[in-house]
Structures are given as C-alpha cells and as structure tokens.
Symmetry: C2
Subunit: 208 residues, 2 copies
Amino acid sequence: MSAITVLLVDDHLVVRSGLKALLGTQPDIEVVAEASSGEEALTAVEEHSPAVVVMDLAMGTGMDGIEAIRKLRERNRRQAVLVFTTYDSDADIVRAVDAGAMGYLLKDAAPEEIFAAVRGAVQGKSVMSAPVASRLFQQLRNPDEVLTPREAELLSLLTEGLSNRELGQRLFISEATVKTHLAHIYAKLGVETRAAAIATAIRREGMR
Amino acid sequence: MSAITVLLVDDHLVVRSGLKALLGTQPDIEVVAEASSGEEALTAVEEHSPAVVVMDLAMGTGMDGIEAIRKLRERNRRQAVLVFTTYDSDADIVRAVDAGAMGYLLKDAAPEEIFAAVRGAVQGKSVMSAPVASRLFQQLRNPDEVLTPREAELLSLLTEGLSNRELGQRLFISEATVKTHLAHIYAKLGVETRAAAIATAIRREGMR
DNA sequence: GGCCGGATCAGCCAAAAGGCTGAGAGACCA
DNA sequence: TGGTCTCTCAGCCTTTTGGCTGATCCGGCC
C-alpha cells in the first residue's frame, strides 16, 4: 500500500522543514510538496493531488489560510485539510471548520497527535487538539456566553479604544445604554473591566 | 577548528526540529541541546555551555523568553543569545535588546540570514532581520516616541487587561508610579485612554 | 393574548482612571 | 561638576467607568 501524500503550507521555512522531518519518521506518510502561501498551495494541490493538506492559518502575505481552505474545498469537496497553527482563537476555529477543515492542531501538539490527525484526515475523521476541542465544547455548553449582534458590534468598536460617550455617539444610543450593553458583555466574557474585555476580545476572537 | 555549539529554545517541537535540520546543513554549526521552556534553557546552558542560545520569546508556560535571556546574561555576561520569533513587536525588540539579546530574527528569515546571525553572535556581532532593523531605525528618527524598557514592559502587561493596582503588584511598584508610566505611554502613543493604548499597542505591535 | 429576549434609557453610588504639579534617587555622559 | 534620562513616589482634583435596580418598547412565539 502506498503512503499518505501530504502538502505542507506554512510561510515559515523552519516550521515546514520541522514538520517534514517529523512526518518523515513515519513510513506511511510522505510529504510530496511544500508551499509558503495560499496561492502556492492551490497550484501545488493541482500538481501533486496530495491526500492531505496541512496548513497554517497565518500567512504573511496574500490569501490567508481560511481563504485557501475555502478555495481548495470549492475545487474538490473531498480534499482533506488539517489546520496546524499557533493560536487557538475561537473565531479562527469556527471560521476554519466552516471553511471545511477536517482538523485543528496546535503547533505544540505531540508528534503522535499530529500523526493520528493526518491518518484520520484521509479517512474523513475529525481530529483536534485538546485545548481546541474544549473551547468548542464550552461554546456548545454555554450558549449564554454568545454575544448578541448588538453586543458584538459594541465590542468591536470597543477594541478601537472608544469611550462610552463615543460609543453612544457612534451607535446613536445613550451612554446609559452603552453601559448596559457593556455590563452584559463583561459578564459573558467573564471579565470586569473594559481593558480586560478588549484584551480578551482581541486574543479570543482574532480581532485586529 | 570545532563547530559552533548551539542551544535551541522553543516550546514548539516542530520549530526546534526544523531549525535543527536547517542548522545541521552547516558543517561549522552544531545543535548540542534543545529546551522547550525558559527553565529548561537555564539548566541546559549549565550542562552544555553552548556558544549561542537561539530562543523564541513566546513560551507557553512559565518563564518567558525575555526573563530567560536576562537570567542567562546575569549568570554569564558573555553568553550570546539570539532571539528567533514570529512577531516583530516594538516592545519585544526593545525589551529583548535591553535584556541582552545579540540579535533578533524573524521566523520567516532566509536560511543564510540565520546562519550569518549564529556566526556573528559568537563574535559579538549584532544581527537582525530587515523588518526589525527598519523598526529600530524609525525609532531612532523619532526618539520622542520610543518607549523606555520599563514603559514597554508596562504596555505589554496593559494589553493583558490588568488594572493599575494589578500592574503595580506585578511590577513591585506603587500605583502612583504606574500612573506616571501610563501618562508617558499615552503621550508617546498619542492616545488619551488605556483602552486606546491597548488597541494601538495590539494593532501596532502585533502583541497578543 | 401573554411571555420572553433584545434593545433602549435613568438614577445613584463607589471605584478606577486620568491630568497636573512637584520631587528625590541613581545612572550616564559631556 | 552639572545636565539629562529613567524610574520612582505623593497629593489633589475631575472625569470615566462599573455595579445595581428598575423601567419601557418592540418583535417573535406558543
């Protein structure tokens, strides 16, 4: 039986070669190509038809990882894609899964975990790192922590550094209403100050 | 003549093995040890006395890279340390250089650049990636806008959402001093509130 | 029709943050 | 030696923010 063919996509050469070395230790896995951007990934898939694409979400320039996943899946709905990235941001996880990723691994994952994810991906299995999974579970268990559209709008403006007065003016609501919304947002995010809310929002949702 | 001995410090296994593979292609460079945390790095240096320590700043748990550099340099002022990290944040650069780093490389650096930095470090030369260098130049042109190491440290903690009291406790200074530093930071960043400072810092510095 | 969640607003009070001035200690440099 | 920079701290005052309670309005939904 032939080995599982893999395409690596990451804009960092050292990460690619590290992952290649790691996967190379497995006789049933073979890295057949590498790409350093979303664009390159698309052409590399055309050329090599890898069984699995292992992709970083953060690409320095051009198309980002999410967009690349979406395009890959548009062209071939059977294409297995694994996300292999540094940060476990709620927003990124949701967006990646939505775009069609089969699994979501963090870069500090154990080698065995990575091997298992690659093998699982070709069988259509979904594999994700424990921290990622726990985040998703928490979202499912606690729908109370989901922001309403208006709250999300406020939070987004909050991360631009606006004061309550400015928020009110921008949204055509009174300062009192702003404060009410903020109180709800703080409760849902589990913080007590606007500074912590901003920090949490940016780190958790990938806002910037 | 013997090879340049190197200790790799990064909490991501794939990055370590990638870097090791890359450096292994050079006959005059030898990776003699690896560490996945600041604590491990300290003991590994004791044991192997590497000529150069190549270190990521962002360590998942425990001592961060900056702290590790400081401790290494306290024990041996001749220890060459190269920072090898993902983001070119102003604050991190200033703090790393202040802590005693000899060079500052980004993870997407070209292999030749990395080799040159390692070779330069043992001779006491300072090497940095082009984007990092340009940031420093810009700072030199506008010295009024350059944060002092202490201010950068505060700003970094600020982006974690801490209150003035918490900042004081964390840094072992009074709340009054915290407020003084913050006032200076706001002036240099051109903002008026901590929320805006956090937003600016994160967007401008790539902090997270 | 009644219930509920989301969005809107008000008032009151305590805590936190910010603006301002002034000042001492230590390092570094000309 | 004197000047400059950084870090440290204090007091005073105003503005902003956050916690709490209670209230109205509207659109879906059973």
